[in-house]
């Protein structure tokens, strides 16, 4: 490689490295804004702002879904296995909504720390499997709803 090429190689590396550093700093500064949702722990520690629309994400606690028999109102708890937040929603839940499933709800926190949701989205994980396998795992009591690392992302 001659000197000129080496110089141009340095320049190319500088461009890539420089833009990476710039973007990394921006991403670090904005990290909370890039997160799609707050976890129940963040909400219970008061990191989520009140009186503004936020999203909360977590896993629906088993046995926590309470449906109002006369309307579409539904209330359930979401957890990140450290803290839990109650979500209240009026409307039709997505097909994938079920207990033990990750969801992301958008809405506002009320004074009691409950999220009054206007939209509920279901989150699914990358563990795809056939119904037979799922049934066999469920029978063995090892349904991999929550891999050990999953709590981190919710």
């Amino acid at each position: 490689m001659n000197a000129q090429r080496k110089q141009r190689l340095t320049l190319v590396l500088l461009i890539v490295f420089g833009s990476s550093v710039a973007v990394a700093l921006v991403a670090y500064a904005l990290s909370q804004n890039i997160n799609l949702f707050y976890s129940p722990s963040q909400i219970s520690m008061g990191e989520a702002p009140a009186d503004t629309r936020i999203r909360a994400g977590g896993i629906v606690v088993d046995g926590s879904v309470r449906r109002d028999p006369n309307s579409l109102k539904v209330e359930f708890d979401i957890t990140d296995f450290a803290h839990a937040t109650t979500v209240q929603y009026v409307g039709i839940l997505p097909d994938l909504f079920r207990e033990g499933q990750g969801i992301v709800a958008q809405g506002m926190l009320d004074q009691n720390g409950r999220l009054i949701a206007s939209e509920v989205l279901a989150k699914h994980d990358e563990n795809y499997m056939s119904p037979e396998v799922a049934a066999a795992l469920a029978a063995a009591g090892e349904m991999p709803h929550m891999p050990p690392t999953a709590g981190k992302g919710y």
């Binding site: 001659n2 699914h124 396998v133 991999p144």
Partner: protein, 253 residues
């Protein structure tokens, strides 16, 4: 290292448009057959024979288009940036042409990845689009492709156009790890990667083997389209050289 030649010979041979045109002509049929076989086998297996997902049922099958197109959109971007860097450093015309030919292919696959993702998102998440980190960075990738194509066609001189698009492609390269790791660095609605380098995929083999076949098939498809575009581009730019004239004369008979 000055003066010492440590690059392999084929690297310099690739710099010759004529040699490049000939070698791609030889490689093209093989890649075309591989593409056809892999994509047909992968699609039939994935869409008709792979088991449905226990939660999403049959709607999960769109993974067989979504994952390969999303992979390709990113791989093509990396290819384009590397070709651009080689063009910048070694002033290699063929590398400039490769970079130029990559952009439209990558843009179309990025559109496909975003479209299949939206179609998948509606029944599973309950929303066509969410501004989460994975989706947004993928949209930025599409805009990068558009920007690169626009910049390339806006500049009259072909070498200046290649230089400026290479710089833009290199700056945009930082987006690729962001797309890749967005699902781990931030809270996103998008689930983590299906394939991980270090772990076995979290699905049974009759689900992931067709997916892997399709990913390889799409890589071959990219190779085929890239070579076809590159050969056209070589002929267009070298139209005044004697070997292209000879070739055209021969084809006319």
């Amino acid at each position: 290292m000055a003066g010492k030649n440590w690059m392999p010979r084929w690297f310099y041979q690739l710099a010759s448009p004529k040699w490049c045109y000939q070698i791609t002509g030889k490689l093209l049929p093989g890649f075309a057959i591989a593409t056809l076989l892999l994509i047909v086998v992968g699609l039939v297996w994935g869409l008709a024979f792979a088991p449905p997902d226990y939660q999403q049922g049959n709607s999960f099958r769109i993974i067989y288009l979504h994952v390969p197109t999303a992979y390709m959109a990113q791989s093509i971007y990396v290819t384009m940036a590397i070709a651009g860097a080689i063009g910048l450093i070694w002033k290699m015309k063929v590398a400039d042409m490769v970079a130029k030919c990559c952009a439209p292919i990558g843009a179309s696959l990025a559109i496909l990845a975003l479209a299949t993702g939206a179609i998948w998102g509606k029944p599973t998440w309950g929303s066509w689009w969410v501004w989460d980190a994975r989706l947004t960075s993928m949209l930025i990738l599409l805009f990068l492709y558009f920007g690169i194509m626009a910049l390339n066609s806006a500049i009259e001189s072909e070498s200046t156009a290649a230089q400026s698009t290479a710089v833009l492609a290199l700056v945009g390269l930082v987006n690729i790890p962001i797309i890749q790791y967005s699902v781990y660095w931030w809270n996103t609605l998008h689930q983590p990667s299906t394939f991980k380098i270090t772990e076995k995929p979290a699905m049974p083999p009759d689900m992931w083997i067709p997916l892997l076949i399709l990913v390889i098939g799409f890589y071959c498809f990219f190779a085929v389209t890239l070579m076809m575009r590159l050969r056209n581009e070589i002929l267009r730019r070298e139209r005044r050289s004697s070997w292209v004239r000879e070739l055209l004369m021969q084809q006319r008979g």
